[in-house]
Amino acid sequence: MDTWSLAAANLTSPPVLAFLLGLAATALKGDLRLPEPVYQLLSFYLLLGIGIKGGVALREAPAGDVLLPVLVTLALGIVIPLLAFVVLRFMTRLGPVDRGALAAHYGSTSLVTFTAAIVFLGAAGVSYEGFVTTLLAVLEVPAIVVGLMLAGRHAARSASWGESLQEILTSRSVLLLVGGLVLGFVTGTAGYAKVEPFFGGMFTGVLTLFLLEMGVIAARRLRDLPQAGFGLVAFAIAFPVVCGVMGIAGGLAAGLSTGGAAVLGVLAASASYIAAPAAVRLALPEANPGYYLTASLGITFPFNLIVGIPLYLAIAQALGG
């Protein structure tokens, strides 16, 4: 498939359409928000399922193939927040605390964007290394720590570093993702077969439901857009593309396939909106959520979902193929 038909296929896939439905319904003042416990069930399911499948795949992969991509991902997790912190200095008038908060978000990564990319590649028939979920887990935490450190020098810290770090490492998303990886690794293909109808067959459907909710939440975030200012909006679109290219290039250099490099591009380009906001809110309460949530959730997330995912694949194919 060429780039345009890939983009069209992405745009008309049920998950992306559900996201748009959530946006549209909220714009019409309808309320399609699912109750909190249901939201938690869906995200629990997605995190654990992604982890398990990644673990099963990791077991099949030769250790040598995994090491280099992991190192590149770690490097991205340190370089991207630093870059964001500096770039934001020029693109916006935000102070160091807000810039550190944004750095934590853009350095970390988004489970749902990753998941949508996986579903997209599957539908497009592009193969990728199954252990990319390991890269997701690797990329989630370090950037948050870097971002908090960048901001922390300028903020009255409300909690000790140790406490904040422990909260990040034992947060639900990290535990489920890493726990799922271990579970999948230990149980292997044979064990996984028994839960495949649940964690595999239903996956795209659950993602569709979840993205409908994400559409509702993103629509609410967009109401804060005026507060964000033009510079931040530009950052929220341009910076992911830069990171995406870095991720793709790094992935190809580390020996990943075209599909695998595209996924690493998506990981690098996507901004966290679960782990990072919680950590930042606790450790940096002075940072304004009107900036970091609006940027990551209101702008970057829809951009990546609709435009970014096929774009990064096209770039990977151009660079790698």
Partner: protein
Amino acid sequence: MHTEELLLVTIVAEAIVEHRLVRDVAAAGARGWTVVDARGQGSRGVRADEFEGSNIRLETLVTPQVADRILEVLARDYFPRYAVVAWSTAANVVRPEKYA
């Protein structure tokens, strides 16, 4: 029925601080508390975790001294940083020894 007057301190806060709030309320001397999930709106509005979306509403029956300590902690560590609201009312309890 013999009752005694205590203070019922109610705190509404963004859900993300629940863990810390409970710890601090206990440290201030409260012997028990009850928490309920809530939602709401105030002057501040913006909430970090749109995902958790919600507030919590904690109430604790305490002596006036403990109530004062709780309000001081709130004023120092919470009001400037988080979306938190608190009030106290007079309450009559049976078994007052349970709360002091």
